[in-house]
Symmetry: C2
Subunit: 316 residues, 2 copies
């Protein structure tokens, strides 16, 4: 479930556009007013506001926000203002540009979406960039990591619940053999299985693996770290298959380590899930971190950025 709150009586898109223009004018931007409006409108409403604003003032609201705001607040708002599918295409594109660091974002997008949703993201990518997500991933990554990421973003996975138990058993064995004792011995088979099998099938395979070897696939992969990122990408994939929300909680917790906040990751998860399933992720966060997500965010952020993210996570 979503965490954002929308007022019971919402102003018309034109009224919202006018209020935004008012917030932009004069000495300095009235960031509180911007947040008060945009953090409390859903995607359909924000789209109508964008259209009303552009029709009335003959300029792009997205661009105006970029010039009015700054820092982490500006980045988070630039994601928030976009259509949810387009937003994921933009985030994926940005990740392909420094893929050696940002490949976890690609894995996350490949798995946090259903196959039908991922297809829509890829269609938005075509429309925005006149290229495919696949070619950008393939052109920027290298080696085994490239093969894995390409399989993850390109395969149109089967989305049904049917599971082939015999196959799950035999592929659990293949995974065990390929993961080896500390270093991966068969990248091709691991990429094939995690890159093409349906989520339901992979869950069954991972369950057989746990039953047989008294450890999870994720933990087995912990021993095989390699500098290319392949093993880490595989581990993220395995985590997302087992429980995507639990993985996102891990991302949020890492983003708010006391050693320094990773605003990029915090914004990404909050913005991408605030209208979708952030309430479930919040519950999981509370269980894991023994502190509410709101409290963690309040402690690790400040200023307009804090106000904005707090509004998106549903804090009053």
């Amino acid at each position: 479930m979503a965490t954002i709150t929308v007022p019971q009586v919402v102003p018309s898109p034109v009224e919202d556009a006018e209020a935004l223009m008012k917030a932009f004018q004069g000495w300095g931007t009235d960031e509180q007013a911007v947040i008060y409006i945009l953090a409390h409108r859903d995607a359909a409403q924000r789209k109508l506001i964008r259209l009303a604003y552009e029709e009335k003032y003959n300029e792009s609201l997205t661009q105006r926000l970029q010039s009015e705001l700054s820092g982490d607040f500006q980045t988070a708002m630039s994601y928030w203002i976009l259509d949810p599918v387009e937003r994921q295409a933009v985030i994926a594109n940005s990740a392909t540009k420094c893929i050696d660091e940002e490949y976890p974002v690609i894995v996350e997008i490949a798995y946090a979406n259903s196959p039908a949703e991922l297809l829509k993201v890829k269609q938005a990518y075509h429309a925005l960039y006149k290229r495919s997500l696949e070619e950008d991933v393939a052109a920027n990554a290298t080696g085994n990591l490239r093969d894995l990421l390409l399989a993850l973003v390109s395969t149109y996975r089967y989305d049904g619940d049917e599971v082939n138990s015999g196959l799950a058993k035999s592929e659990a064995k293949i995974i065990h053999k390929a993961v080896g004792n500390g270093s991966i011995t068969d990248h091709g088979e691991l990429t094939r299985i995690l890159g093409t099998r349906s989520k339901a099938q992979l869950v069954a395979t991972f369950n057989y693996f746990s039953d047989e070897h008294s450890t999870t696939v994720t933990k087995a992969l912990l021993h095989g770290e390699d500098p290319t990122g392949y093993t880490r990408a595989l581990r993220i994939a395995a985590r997302c298959i087992a429980d995507t929300n639990k993985y996102l909680v891990k991302v949020l917790r890492s983003a708010m380590r006391s050693s320094g906040t990773d605003e990029e990751s915090l914004s990404r998860v909050v913005v991408m899930h605030a209208e979708k399933d952030l309430r479930d992720i919040k519950e999981e966060f509370h269980k894991r971190a023994s502190v509410a997500l709101e409290q963690a965010v309040a402690k690790e952020t400040s200023g307009d950025y804090k106000t904005f993210i707090m509004a998106l996570v549903g804090s009053h």
Copy 2:
């Protein structure tokens, strides 16, 4: 353009269903009547006949045809009676089962369809087999051939005309280096480029290649034969990118060699294109083979199979 002919006044689906039942009854099947009806109905009409037949006689027309007909005629009709998208899913599935020989069919399906059409084939595959085409291809092929086929069927290619000339130039160089002098030195890069770039981009890249090296990519690949089929699959991909119809003419000509007819390939190309673009393929065939497709088919086939294929290629 299509080659099949549909009568100006078409009987109702129920009348056609009744005529088919009449053809099935009595001593032996009246194959001529079956051909007279089904070879002269388009996909939408055949679908209505299937529905009318199943409602009236409480049995599947597809299954009844399989038991009434035999040999190459039965195989060709079993493809023809299917919905065009479903038919490609069935043909692709059958190719995955003996992929070491049948991989050219997978390449053909990946390239003879637009990205949107290929997506529909993959959706039909999900519905029919409760699995993805990708996982079946990946599970049955091995090595470099697997990587190439997986990229071909899984990538949702960009379908626009935009071309990046700088990229075309640099990737033409990469291809030249990777193809080497007789044996391929970089499978990964060749798979990446042919597996993920848009058709328009690849055409531009191939043109730079020809300009620079006074030979085509297809010809350059002729020197690098390997036992795994990778080079041949790559060459088929390159041919399809350059000119899919020309490649299909080559398939038809090989299928009708004097050393023996390959009815499977002949049926596949004729059935898959009779309602779509077989007229263009016929023209190209005539130019290349200096004989009309009808004449070649008449010479190399016989019996009911001959009558059926001749009707599909538009011979009167």
